[in-house]
Every structure is written in C-alpha cells, then in structure tokens.
C-alpha cells in the first residue's frame, strides 16, 4: 500500500506525460482544466495512464463522472447545481471537495472539482480497498 506522497509522485508523473506540463505545476491544489490545460480527451488519456501506473482498473465515470446534468434534469436549475445535485455529486464523487463547490454551485464550476488532490484521494481509497 503506497503512502499518500508516493501516490502523489506517480500522479504527478502521469500528468506530466499526459498534459505536457512541468512537474512543479502539478501541485495538490492544481485544477486539471483551469491550471493544467486538460481538455476532454485528456481525461481518457489520464485514466489509461493511471490504470497502467497503479495496476488497477478504473471503470468509466468513476473518477471523472460524465454528463452529470444530462442524466437528470432535477440536478440542475438556472445554471446552478440544485441541493439534490449537490447530494448526487457527494455520492458520485466522494473523492472531490464538494463542500467548496457548494459555496458557488454554478454548473460551469463543476470542472473545478477535478484537482490533483481529487485524483490522489480517489487512488488512496481505491488502492486501500
């Protein structure tokens, strides 16, 4: 069972390879899209690399949920994630910092949940189980 620091190191290597960023840019707080320039297809590439690097399986939508608002119209209203939507996010993304997001739950802020720390949280839990 690797330590949290060891997981972070491997996640950093993965993101350097997948996104072509410098090591020092990959801080725990860095957001994949806004700070590291990740685009939609990069998320698929990141999942492939994490699976290989950690020798684990990451089913579709488990790390990066897809089409969040399309699945159920009651999760979003007026460009904001509803109470029900916040609960859904907590269920689907226990590895993400939903509390911070809930302070300003605009739909366009959903990508802010995808941080380096979120990936480390996810893997820590996954590798422990």
């Amino acid at each position: 069972m690797p330590t949290r620091d060891e997981i972070l190191d491997k996640v950093r290597d993965t993101l350097v390879d997948a996104l072509g960023v410098d090591e020092d840019e990959v801080t725990p707080q860095a957001r994949l899209s806004a700070d590291l320039g990740a685009e939609s297809i990069d998320f698929l590439d990141i999942v492939f690399r994490l699976e290989k690097s950690f020798n684990t399986k990451i089913p579709r939508g488990e790390l990066f949920p897809e089409n969040f608002s399309a699945a159920d119209a009651t999760l979003v209203a007026n460009g904001k994630v509803t109470e029900k939507g916040i609960e859904e996010l907590r269920t689907r993304m226990p590895h993400a910092d939903v509390d911070s997001f809930a302070k300003d739950p605009k739909v366009e802020n959903i990508p802010e949940l995808f941080t380096v720390n979120m990936i480390v949280n996810f893997l820590e839990k996954k590798l422990a189980s």
Binding site: A18, I41, L44, D45, F48, K52
Partner: protein, 160 residues
Amino acid sequence: MRWIWIDRFIEFERGSHAKAIKNITLAEEHLHDHFPGFPIMPGSLMLEGMAQTGGILLGDVHNFEHVVILAKVPKIEFHSWATPGDTLTYSAKLIEARAEGGMVECTAKVGDRLVAEAEIVFAHVDPASTGAAQIDQKSFVFTSRLLTVLDVGKAGSGGH
C-alpha cells in the same frame, strides 16, 4: 479517395498487436515537394500509417461497432527518416481497449533502424453521445473498410 497509408499487414494478433508495411515510392507526388532533391516520407503520414495499423487493431476488438477516431497523440518522436525504396514497418501494440476508446504504442522502422515512435489515443464517437442520428461510417478512416488491406497478400506472391 482511398486514404490508405499502409500496404499490407504482415502480422495481426487480435486484441494484442499488429504489424503493417508501407513501401515508399517516388510515384507518390508529394515526395517531389517534400523536399525537392531530398525526398523523405512526411512525418505526418508516418503517424497516419501507425494510426491506421493501431486503429484497425482497436476497431477489431469491438467488431467495428464503434466509430474510432484519432483523438490525441501524447507522444511522437522522430529518430531518423525514410526515403523512396525503403520499406517502413509499423508495429502497433494495443495498450487499452475500452468502451470509451483505446490507446496504442507504435514504432516505425526501416529494417532495424528506428525511424519514429508514438503513443496514440483513440476515442469512440457513438451516435448517442454526439446527438447525431446516424454517423456515416464512410467518412471515417479506422473502419472495417480499411480491412481491405488485410486482403492484400491473398492474391499470392505472383509466383507459380
């Protein structure tokens, strides 16, 4: 137009790896401009050849039920070049093949000389996810139609 940048498969192991060859010839118009007096196979077309070799490998795993598109080239390195008269051998190894897409690692060699190596990520575009009612498979490259390349060689060597 037939956008086929491999001539023949020499190995095809379903779900694992494939090898295809590409013979370069001065009959290819573009080589006279790339470059005048120094004809070399453009790197972009070598990438296409590697993508076709790997794209068929991925499409085949799912019986060509998905439309496979080249989505990302996380890595490509050119170590050398290839000229008319050379036979390029493209080797593709399937690293990932899932419902959303896949990934291959490829090399291009002339004999034992490494010319290029690449990682290529493919995505599946399905009608449901794009909102398009129907996707015209004919507009895409990595389909079962490209498998006609696998028929090359069935004609035999031409010998008796």
